[in-house]
């Protein structure tokens, strides 16, 4: 028993109260007694009880009336009614009014034990369910949305405040910054969290496919439409719909979408029945929608309809202080999924990661770490496990020195730090290479 279960006994007979009190106390429960319904309700006002064991026939307010009042105060209260043989009908009525169970007096000790055991099992299941729900929600809320930087904290603050509303949201940010994760976080922090989160990748579908995907279709609406199919808007009823790459939809679809957003009703392709659905729209794009509106490629009215709230996700290069946290998170994530013990990362490798620009943002970092865990030795992630230098030469040449340093290191690694072969490949003599190594403080990974 995880916590002490509390029982309130309500009966006008002293002997019954005493008997039950002694019985439950010996079982380790917290027990209180009330001699009438009025006193029981007063006790219940000041404290919560897991189980209420009440007699039906009592002077003044009877057990049934008390049951109704308890249920109106706390719907999920477990109330067990006690009755004499002659009042079984009343007990049945009590069950209809929400009583958990009933027992006829006097009862077999085993019946009482079973009854209380079942009730406590239900209580512990309810507790467990609540705890798991909280855990799931907290996991949904924070998982993958990693970052302690001010830029990321701002995003999280915006997510929290916008989640409580029903407004449309546009999430903007470069590819790989985690726009869908932010959308999921908005959903799972909102009152719609127990309903579906439906994601549609608009850029991956042709116009006709997207129409069928969003609105659904009736059997025979087009070649291959063999069955009726629900659309994504219909599936997202009471939940949220996430339209990724919204900038890619055609002008015709923009008109359709605007109409649906305004009326929250639509018809399936090939159908004529109007369907209504209560959904919240969250869009994402890596394009400048405002600019597209100015150029006339995106409808202005749709833009203002969608852009009630705009959340801008910073690229990874603008929040490099989050890289160690992200690296740590991805190491744990992939080591767990691959059943490997968590491997540490070499400090020099981590430093180089923080120097890198990450044009592919978090997605690129995640892939790098995943690859390092797959191909690495399993003891430590070092520079040699990260495809950093090659990418860096191509992408990170903010100065000639940076370029030269990365390039020399890349060739050194290629020839396993064989100075003669590296010098030959670079077409310089060994002394020059030694000087460069000294100048750039180049070291063999792990040293």
């Amino acid at each position: 028993m995880a916590r002490k279960i509390s029982i309130l006994i309500v009966d006008d007979e002293d002997s019954v109260r005493d008997s039950l009190y002694n019985w439950f106390i010996e079982d380790g429960f917290r027990v209180e007694c009330a001699e009438n319904a009025k006193k029981a309700l007063t006790i219940l006002e000041s404290g919560e009880f897991d189980i209420i064991l009440a007699d039906i026939k009592m002077p003044g307010m009877d057990g049934l009336e008390m049951l109704r009042r308890i249920k109106s105060l706390k719907k999920d209260s477990i109330v067990i009614v006690m009755t004499a043989f002659a009042t079984v009908d009343t007990a049945v009525k009590a069950l209809k009014d929400g009583a958990y169970d009933y027992v006829t007096k006097p009862f077999d000790p085993d019946d009482l034990t079973h009854l209380i055991r079942n009730a406590t099992k239900q209580i512990s299941l309810t507790d467990e369910n609540e705890n798991l729900k909280k855990k799931v929600i907290s996991l949904e809320n924070v998982e993958d949305l990693i970052g302690g930087s001010e830029a990321m904290k701002n995003v999280l603050r915006e997510v929290e405040s916008v989640a409580q509303t029903n407004s449309s949201v546009i999430i903007t940010g470069e590819s790989g910054t985690g726009k869908e994760l932010v959308a999921r976080a908005i959903h799972s922090n909102s009152s719609r969290k127990y309903f579906p989160f439906v994601s549609v990748h608009c850029g991956a579908l042709t116009e006709s496919l997207l129409e069928s995907e969003l609105f659904g279709h009736e059997k025979g609406a087009f070649t291959g439409a063999m069955y009726n199919r629900k659309g994504r808007f219909e599936m997202a009823d009471s939940g949220s719909i996430f339209l990724d790459e919204i900038a890619t939809i055609s002008t015709k679809m923009q008109v359709e979408l605007l109409r649906v957003l305004e009326s929250k009703t639509f018809t399936r392709v090939g159908g004529n029945k109007e369907i209504s659905s209560d959904f919240r729209v969250i869009c994402a794009t890596n394009k400048d929608l405002k600019n597209m509106v100015e150029k006339g490629t995106f409808r202005e009215d749709l833009y203002y309809r969608l852009n009630v709230v705009n959340i801008q996700i910073p690229p990874l290069r603008d929040r490099k202080e989050d890289i160690p946290l992200l690296v740590d998170y991805f190491i744990k994530k992939y080591c767990t999924s691959m059943n490997k013990p968590a491997v540490p990362i070499d400090q020099s490798a981590l430093k180089r990661l923080q120097e890198f620009n990450f044009p592919g943002n978090i997605r690129e970092l995640e892939n790098m770490i995943e690859r390092a865990i797959v191909v690495g030795t399993g003891k430590k992630i070092g520079l040699q496990d990260l495809p950093l230098e090659k990418t860096m030469v191509n992408n990170f040449a903010e100065s000639l020195d940076d370029f030269e340093r990365a390039f020399i290191l890349q060739i050194l690694n290629k020839y396993n730090w064989n100075i003669s072969r590296t010098a030959k490949a670079l077409k310089v003599d060994r002394v020059t290479l030694y000087n460069k190594i000294k100048k750039y403080d180049l070291k063999l990974a792990g040293q």
């Binding site: 007979e13 002997s15 019954v16 005493d18 008997s19 039950l20 002694n22 019985w23 106390i25 010996e26 079982d27 380790g28 006690m82 007096k105 006097p106 009862f107 077999d108 000790p109 085993d110 009482l112 034990t113």
Partner: protein, 180 residues
């Protein structure tokens, strides 16, 4: 005068052996001297003719009212069918952390259930019930350990499943409650 004394008071006829053996087991389990006394009360006052049983609540209060200056725990032992108003029967009951308990041998005999009598089984069950109720008077509550004597038993088969000893946790609890 030794105040750390447990007294078993028998009401009605019991074989001498069974009381002495039970007393020996109690003494061993709780490390206190145990004495056996004979008590006399008019059981008809506690008889419920409608139920044809004896009111356990009233008997417990009656035994509790006995003043035994040399005893700090008292267990009344009966050979009649006990009930409490809410339950069809009880094997015994006690004041949790109090001074008094009661136990009955009435429902412990195999013959009661149409089987061949077995004095050893009867003694084992009786001993466990006596230790169990006295355990409550020391403040021990029901235990979930199937072999612990403080495990709740609603049928004689349940009593047979457990031992006559406290489990480790109940033993620790007993030590912390009594300092023994």
């Amino acid at each position: 005068m030794n105040l750390q004394n447990i007294t078993l008071i028998s009401f009605g006829y019991f074989g001498k052996d069974i009381l002495e053996k039970a007393a020996g087991a109690v003494s061993q389990e709780f490390s206190f001297p145990v004495s056996i006394k004979e008590g006399h009360i008019d059981l008809s006052e506690f008889y419920d003719s409608a139920r044809r049983q004896y009111n356990g609540n009233n008997l417990l209060k009656q035994v509790d009212s006995f003043s035994l200056p040399d005893s700090f725990k008292t267990l009344g032992i009966f050979n009649v069918d006990l009930f409490i108003p809410i339950l069809t029967f009880i094997f015994g009951q006690a004041f949790l952390g109090g001074k008094t308990g009661i136990a009955s041998i009435y429902r412990l005999d195999n013959e009661r259930y149409g089987m061949v009598g077995n004095s050893q089984i009867l003694l084992n069950r009786f001993t466990k019930e006596v230790v169990h109720e006295l355990g409550h008077t020391f403040g021990l509550i029901h235990c979930l350990n199937p072999s612990c004597v403080m495990r709740s038993s609603t049928y004689v088969e349940d009593i047979d499943q457990k031992t006559q000893n406290l489990c480790i946790r109940c033993r620790e609890e007993f030590v912390s409650l009594t300092g023994v």
